[in-house]
Structure formats: C-alpha cells, structure tokens
Amino acid sequence: MKFKKIIIIYIFLFSTLYADENNLELIKIYKNLRCLICQGQSIADSNSDFASTVKLVVQDQVKEGKSKEEIYDFLISKYGEWIVYQPTFTKTNFLLWAIPYLLLAFGGIVIYFLVRKNKYNKSN
C-alpha cells in the first residue's frame, strides 16, 4: 500500500518532465561560448548584438553538420581561447586539469597512511 502511494506521488511530481534533445545541443554550445563585450556572460545569456550574430553563425555551422569541437576550434581560431568557457586540453592548460586530481591522489595517500599506521599499532 505504501509502495503504491509512493508510485502515485512520483507520477504526479514527475509528470511535467520531458527530455528534448535537438535544441538542447544548440543551447549547450551557446552556453560554452563567452560574450566578448559583456562582463561575464555566455552567448546563451547575453542579449547583446554580438551574441545574436554568433548564434546565427553557430546555427549555420550546426546545419552544415559541423561537430561541437569543429565549431569551437573555428571560433578559437578567430577570437582566441577566451571565447570558450571550457578550457582546451593542451599543454598550456595541463596544470589546470591536473591539479585537482593530483590533490585527490595526494589526499588519498595521506588517509591511507594515517589509517594504515594504526593497523600496525593495533597489532603491537
């Protein structure tokens, strides 16, 4: 009985959900592009003239079948890396991507030794 109730509540709550693929891809690209004349806004959020022009260009390229990466590369070649919010995976950005994981590994090692030390103490 409780289980049925839960199901009914879920159906009610989730009935507004609907996943949409097509246009979400376009908006995802807009969200990764930076508006160059704004103070910290993406092309998706900005209402500026530049943003609307870039949106047109992106729409064209998507229709031509270009992939996300190709579009980003194209814009980076014109405007520099500043225009994409996701940093590229190149040598210059190596530290940026590596440091968090290095810290994760370092922390794991520290905890391992802290806990392991005790195993030896216990057996003594």
Partner: protein, 628 residues
C-alpha cells in the same frame, strides 16, 4: 554633521581596540582565571560605538544626506525606505563598515560566551581579533571612508540602479558577511590556541558554535544570492561558477570540513593541527575572496565598481595574515599520533575533508589559473561552468555514497555495519532510479549514478530519522536534516538539469512557436510609463497542449532614464512541480524579439533543499543551547 559623528565614532572604535589590546596583554601576565572587568567594559564600549557608527551611516542614507559622498553615489531621494536602508551595505564602503561591525560583534560575543574557557586563550583571541579590526579600520579610513564629504552638496543622488533594488539582494550581503566575517573569530581563536597552548577537546568546544553559526549563515547567504540571481538577472540559471560566486563557495568548503573535523577533535582529541590549519585557512580564503571581488582583477557580472588601490591594501593585509599565521604555526607545531580504525566515524570524517579539499582546490584553481596564465604567459583563457561540471560532478557520486554510509559507523571502534540493511536501501535506490529512467526519459550513465546515490542518501536519512526518534537520539537530528537536504538538493539539481526544456528563438508580434507540447503565441506589446522607467511589456499566451492549460506570461524590457540603463525582467511562474521562465529582448533595428523560453522542473525544491541544509545547522545550535 553626520560625517563628523561617524568619523569620531570610527576613531573611538580604533581607540578602544588599542586599549583592549594593551589591557589584555597586561592581564595575560596576571596569573588568575578572571578576566579584568575593564576589558569587558572596553569591549562593551567598542560594540556600542560600532553599532552607533553603522546606525549613523544608515541615518545618512535614510535622510538622503548627500553631503556624504557614499550616500550621494549610492542613494536617491525617490528610493523606497527599505532600499535606502539596504543601500547602506550595498556598496563597497558601507559593506566594509558592516565587516567591521561583525568583527567587533563576534569579538565581544566570543569573550562573553566563552567564560568557561582558559583566560590566556580568551585574551589572546581578543588581541588577535582586535589586530584584525585595527587593520580593517585603517583600510576604511585611508581608502574607503563612508563618511567622506563632498562639497558643494548635490541635490540628488546617483544611486538608483534598479537591479540593486530587490529584497533578496538587500539581505544577501548581511547573511553572507556573518558567514564570511564570522570566520575571523576562529582564525583569531586558532592563533590564540597556539600562543596559549590551549588545545584539544576544550579548544574544540570553544569554537564549535562559532563554526556552526558561520556555516549556517554562509549557506543561507549563498542560497539567497542564487535565488536573487534566478529571479532578477534573467538568464534562468542559479549558479554560473562566476568568480564572485566561487569566492563565496571557497570558504564554505573549508567551513564544512572544519565543522566535521571539530567533532573529531572534540570526541577523540585528535586532528588538532588540522583543525588549526582549517581555522586559519577559512578566514584567509574569505579575505582572498574579498580581494578577488573588490580589486578589479577579475571579469565578472557581479563586480563592485573596482579600484586597484583597494586591491593593493587588501593584498598587503592578506600577506601579513598568511605569513604571521604560518610563522606561528611552524613555531608551535608538534607532531601528533593518530589512532584511527578503518571502519569508524572519524575515518569517514577524514574522507569528508578529503573531498572538501578536492572541491576547494578545483574551484580555487579554476579562479586562479586564468590570472596565472595572463601574468606569466600573457595568454588569456576562460574557465567557466563546463570545467567545474566536468571535474566536480563525477566525484559527487562517491561523495554521496560515502556520505550515506559514513554516519552509520560509530566513534572509535569498528563494528559490524548493518550490511544487509544498507544493501537493501541501495537496491531500493537503484530500482527507483530505473523507474524514473523508464517512465520519464533516458539519460547518461553518470546521471543514473547521481540519481542512485542521491536517492540512496535520502532513503538512508529517512531510516536514520525513524531510528533516532525511536531511540530518542536527538543529537543525530541536525546531521540527518542537513544530509537529507544535501541529497535532495543534488537530486533536484539533477532532475532540473536533465529534464529542463530550453528554447532560444526570434518572434514578431502575432507569431507563434511550438515547442514539444507547448505553444507560445506572441499576442502583443504594451508600452507603459512608470515612475522612473518606461517598460515594454510583452504579452505571451502559453498553451500546454497536452493538458489543455493556458497561462499568460509578461516579460518586460525596462528603460530607465536615471541612470540610463536597460533591464530585462523575466516572466517567471513558479509552481511546485516546475517553473516557466520567459525572457524577451529586442533585436536591434528589427521588428523581431529574441525570446528565451524555459520549463524548469523542481526549481522551488532546489531552494527548499538548500534551506533544509542550513536548517540542520540551526537545529544543532538550538540543541547546544538547550544542553547548556
């Protein structure tokens, strides 16, 4: 007149700080357990002067006294009273005065409420805290004086920026500052602890409530800031990983780690050095955040009007703080032994700290790397939401899992965990997730995992709640409430992100657009003249074709004349199940309007779960008070 009163009061606060430091220093030498009456009195005077000083500035704003430059720049006679008052702290100079208020307030409260603790420790805390206060007052007087005069006195103020006239934005700074600046007191306490050698469990008990208070308010402050961004800024999001947002998140990670580690220090008398490091780090991160936000070094939609001279001063102050705390730490550091069994609560708290450190470093590196690259290699890159999402989200999965399993263990001794019960709940979560997957639309493996662990955490919290009520273990309630809130938050964010509908398109009046089962008809445009702005109101008819429901949404474009700004007001309809979000902006030199339509499931629940997280902390404070 007000300017004179205000400045005199500032000097009085400064004088009382010096007197407090002097008297405290002398009193430390006296070997008894009683703090001299004079010091209490001086502290009382100090807090009185500080509150009066802030009040003076508020009066300046309320009376629109434009002889004060600060009031002139940030207020206006036609501003509603509530926003005149809020304008006091909505600018750099006023907010600095608010910082000083909170520094003094916490200094006073810590002295008074910690009467059970070691005298030398309390006095050293007072001294360090007052050194911080002096530092900020000097900054205020030399660089950012809210009581500076302007002559001739203007008739009207400049400050009618409409974006700043919003209730959420009015309370966001005070809430956040109690968090940010509240950290100062345990920074001072940590230094004092090292200097007076007052360690271990007693030290933990002395700072525990203060850590809790700053954590609660930091959580609230960040949440209210997000709510404001969602309702006011018109992009439909609530977190942009903007540098200023990140600057408030950094201390939050540190305080959360500290809050958990203090428990270990209290219960097991272990991790003292680590607790000290966290206490120092938290306020250092707060001041670093302030530096990043107010110096103009970062490009952000949130920045205060920036001024490089501020940056230099804050940087000097930051440098002094870091070097002094490092020197004292290295001088007093003694190696500790650790006695942690694997399957115990303290080990899992270490794991919590591990993850908090990871999240903190990720956000820190994301903020600092572009600056580093710009300075060292003259290359400009951007680090935005994709970076943080890619690095942080996958780690949320093990984090939530460990967060569910961890509290099942007890202190000190490993014990047989209720393995089958936990497994049962885990499978329950998997099944519920599959249910969502099949009925409502498929999603990636990562999202599956996130839903599973979030639901797992929620289910486990329900069970813990039931058992705690049965066994009358009320001290578990705060943890259960906050952890439940966190699981709910991640689940709601996941659902919101996965099932949001977003469309960006251009429409002319009279046209419609069909999106999935919605139809949007651009009915007409109305132009209205209001008191200080002209608004272009779009009338949109939204039809839900599946349910045959009709709603009207009215986004606005507002043209203000004084100052000349353009704002875009989103039309938002918030319901229990989802929000509708519509913004409209005109395409230059064209009859078309650019429309952004969003349907966002469970938005309200995101705010509710964030408040639940903070609620757990407040319940903890209440329980502690009752205990006393």
């Amino acid at each position: 007149m007000l300017s004179n009163i205000g400045e005199i009061l500032v000097f009085l606060i400064l004088a009382s700080s010096f007197l407090i430091i002097y008297n405290a220093y002398i009193d430390i030498k006296i070997r008894n357990q009683v703090v001299k009456r004079m010091i209490y009195n001086l502290s009382l005077f100090q807090i009185t002067f500080t509150i009066l000083c802030f009040f003076t500035l508020i009066i300046g704003f309320v009376n629109s006294d434009f002889s004060l430059i600060n009031v002139y720049e940030n207020s206006h006679t036609t501003k509603p009273l509530f926003y005149k008052i809020a304008g006091t702290w909505g600018n750099h100079e006023g907010s600095l005065l608010l910082w000083i208020n909170i520094l003094v307030l916490f200094s006073f409260l810590f002295l008074v409420f910690n009467f059970k603790h070691n005298k030398k420790f309390r006095l050293y805390t007072l001294i360090i805290q007052n050194i911080l206060i002096i530092g900020f007052i000097i900054f205020l007087l030399l660089n950012s004086n809210p009581f500076s005069l302007i002559y001739p006195v203007p008739f009207e103020g400049l400050g009618l920026n409409p974006i700043l006239q919003d209730p959420a934005l009015a309370i966001h700074p005070p809430l956040l500052y109690i968090g940010f600046v509240g950290c100062s007191i345990y920074f001072s306490a940590a230094m004092a602890s090292m200097l007076s050698e007052y360690k271990g469990k007693e030290f933990a008990l002395s700072i525990k409530s203060w850590v809790q208070i700053s954590w609660c308010f930091q959580t609230l402050g960040i949440t209210v800031g997000s709510i404001w961004a969602y309702y006011e800024l018109g992009w439909g999001g609530f977190w942009f990983w903007d540098p200023v947002e990140n600057a408030s998140l950094l201390p939050w990670f540190a305080i959360t780690a500290l809050m958990h580690s203090v428990m270990v220090l209290e219960k097991r008398n272990s991790l003292y050095a680590w607790v000290i490091i966290l206490c120092l780090l938290t306020f250092i991160l707060s001041v670093t955040g302030t530096f990043l936000v107010r110096s103009g070094i970062l490009n952000s939609v949130h920045t205060f009007a920036s001024d490089p001279s501020r940056g230099i001063y804050i940087l000097l102050f930051l440098g002094l703080m870091i070097f002094t705390s490092l020197i004292i730490f290295f001088k007093k550091y003694k190696k500790e032994s650790y006695n942690f069994n694997l399957k115990t609560r303290e080990t899992f708290i270490l794991v919590n700290n591990w993850f908090m450190a990871f999240f903190l470093v990720t956000v820190l590196v994301g903020i600092l790397y572009p600056i580093f690259l710009d300075v060292v290699a003259d290359i400009k890159i951007s680090v935005g939401p994709p970076f943080y999402n890619i690095v942080i989200i996958p780690l949320i999965v093990p984090f939530l899992f460990l967060m569910t399993v961890g509290p099942q263990f007890k202190w000190i001794n490993s014990q047989k965990v209720k393995f089958y019960q936990t497994l049962f709940f885990f499978f329950g979560a998997v099944i519920i997730n599959l249910f969502i997957y099949y009925f409502f639309g498929s999603y990636s493996i990562l999202t599956n995992l996130i839903f599973i662990v979030a639901i797992f955490l929620i289910l486990q919290c329900f069970l813990d709640a039931k058992q705690s009520m049965y066994k009358k273990k009320i001290f578990e309630y705060p943890r259960i409430i906050s952890h439940f809130g966190f699981g709910l938050l991640i689940l709601c964010i996941g659902i919101n992100h996965q099932y949001s509908l977003e469309e960006d398109f251009n429409l002319q009046v009279g046209e419609s657009k069909k999106i999935n089962n919605y139809e949007i008809y651009f009915k007409n445009i109305k132009i209205e003249q209001n008191k200080n702005y002209q608004s272009v109101i779009g009338n949109f008819k939204l039809t839900d074709l599946k349910k045959n429901l009709i709603q009207y949404l009215n986004p606005e474009i507002r043209v203000y004349s004084d100052p000349e700004t353009l704002t875009y007001e989103a039309a938002i309809k918030s319901k229990i199940t989802s929000d509708f979000y519509l913004t409209m902006s005109n395409v230059s030199r064209s009859e078309y309007y650019n429309i952004k339509f969003q349907n966002k499931p469970f938005m309200i629940w995101i705010w509710i779960s964030a408040f639940i997280i903070a609620l757990g902390g407040f319940v903890q404070l209440m329980l502690k008070k009752n205990e006393n």
